[in-house]
Amino acid sequence: MNDSTRDDSNGALSNLDLETPEKPYLDSNELIINMGPQHPATHGVLRVILKLDGEKVLDTECVIGYLHRGVEKIAENRTYTMFNPYVDRMDYVAAVSNGLGYCEAVEKLMNVEAPARANYIRVILTELNRIASHQLWLGTHALDIGAMTPLFYTFRDREEILKIFERYCGARLTTHAFRIGGCQYETYAGFEKDVENFLTFVAPKIDEYEELLTTNRIWIERTKNVGVISAADAIALGVTGPVLRASGVKWDLRKAQPYAAYSEFDFDIPTGTNGDTYDRYLVRMAEMRQSLRIIEQAVNGIPEGPIMAKVPKIIKPPVGEIYHSIEAPKGELGYFIVSDGSTQPYRLRVRPPSFVNLQALDTMVRGLLVADVVAVIGTIDIVLGEVDR
């Protein structure tokens, strides 16, 4: 390769050893390539600098920030209510979860409890969104590995969820479904019916995805023992969500620190054993089924009552700080809010699951091939809007 050692990446950003070291035996194949920010498989604008020996990955470095909008700084200049829609723009494929985390954090700061009915609506919408998020993950992940067709199947079925969102709150993607203290909207007539229809509609569809992939030889060969991360490593890196559970750690905030109405439902936490890409796939597929179970219970047991707690018109939480986290589809989504008693947060910090999970990329892909990097980026399930905020 004629310019294999020429550094065309941004040297200032990179702490990789980009110069070929002086050694008696020259590795003529060492190659540094930029994967992204414009690349079909980096899910947006992630840039990964890969140091390759032939096709083997020797070292990686993620360069992020191409989608940075300063969400946390914006929060300092907006009232608590005004900031609520902004959180939807972080993980835009799971906007409902983001909203839930933020609303609950502020409620906790203000010592307000959302009413039971509001909590049930929250659970239903959040779990629907979890399914939507996992479906989108499955489609793009399969596309990264080369299976085109699942993408279209999952998008077809995700559409049904988005339709329910649209009927409920008028928006499909950035829903802004919840308010501090409860929900803005009462469920529309036929909401339960819609959700139940969806449950019967989507269960066979999940089987359909599994039929295409789970026992597919190529899929297994591409994902088994690829991107393995041990439980200890995963915990040390702060990895959460399906990625952690696939390594065999039974940690799910819905069970560990129940919020909303999750303590009232009966569901399992699927875990894997090997912590490889295939296990993460299986865990997410199982999670979709568990979400269906939760939604079914919630729809059947939804109580009557108010949907909004008593919240003052102008939200002024007392001085103090709070950290509240929920189990978003991608892992632990935490909000740390410092209040100085004014109408605006003094400081707001988000713990985005994608950002933390992305740390594990290097551990997972070292020694694998370029094609596996793509598979592993897909399996971590990052959304760049959330990584960069």
Binding site: G146, M148, A371, D372
Partner: protein, 432 residues
Amino acid sequence: MPDFIMSYLGIKDAVTPGAAGSQFWALVYVFIIFAGVSVAVMAMNWLERKALAHFQIRLGPMRVGPHGLLQPIADAIKLMLKEDIIPAEADQFVFWVAPLIGLLAAFTVYTVIPFGPSQAVSDMNIGILFMLGVSSLGVLGIVVAGWASNSHYPLIGALRSSAQMVSYEVAMGLAVVSAILMTSLNATGTGTLSMIGIVQAQQQQGVWFIFKFFPLGLIALGIFAIAMIAETNRAPFDMAEAESELTAGYHTEYSGLRWSLFMLAEYAAMIAVSSIAVALWLGGWMRPFPNLLNAPAWDFIFSLFPALTFFGLAAIAIIGVVRMPAHSFFKIQRIGLAAFAAVLGFIALLLLVIAVAGRSADGSVAARFREGIDYVYWFVFKVAVFMYLFIWYRATWPRYRFDQLMKIGWKVMLPISLVVLIATAIVGVLVS
């Protein structure tokens, strides 16, 4: 030259232009095949997009022409009008010449493809070797394109694809040899490498080589069928242009006409390797069951198939016309599709007339003509089945990883094909 015309009108024995030594007719044939392949590639382009779309619950192209029938033409015009970008750091000359290498290799192969016992440009004595050799030249175009782009992704794509093609050529060659071995199972014990000769050997032995020494022929075809996907860089072995990994592989830096030449070469190569498979194992131009159902009545029935196919296509088009929404918006589309149906129906009628007029195998002009159409029809039909399989694979399977692909090539396919080859030889010796 007049002799040659006569040979096609059935007055003299039909031979290929190569055997007749007519440069003029060879040239005419070359042009016919070039045009035919180009049209086939366009049709394949449309079909692939449509079939893939229907696999994936989409509609595919619908805007340009009724059901997107004119989409390939629109694409071709677009690609020709696009700016042809040559990167500043690229090696200009090599960048320019690389697509042509691939295209030349893909099209040269067609000189020996036997569409019928005399429907080929030339019956080369070393036909199958020539085909494999020339089609393996296509990889040079890919390697050189990847190098000339002077960019990382194309280079990796080029290296991948060349390694892949070279490795799969081995298994492919061994599978082909086992088919060639089967041609030598006759009274004289001499086999042949000529494509026409191979099909004729199947005719003489009264069995397609896929069923010969069951399951040896079948396994050999299986190996060839897998290797040919790898040879043409198609899913699930489309490592060279793996979109999610290498953006577009070796043609990342190409645009416009030059890019379309790569696509043309790829599709032409697909048709070419499918033709090899058809000629070697699936009886080439022969109709199904030529030895079991050999009464003249069966001949007649099978000779109706071309007409029936076109009637079927016309019927599908007419259904499309009927189902088109009754809105003035669709008026032109409806007329277009109806006209298309009419053309298909007319071709079908023509074929029907020929089939009926030439039903007696008495060597008359009409009979010769009918036979020619039958040969070409069955050959193209079998190739079309393979082309559909290509689309099907692409819709169904994820992509292999590069090392897995090499592992399959060297550790699975090569041993199996060696065993098949040896077994074929042993069984052949025992039988004869």
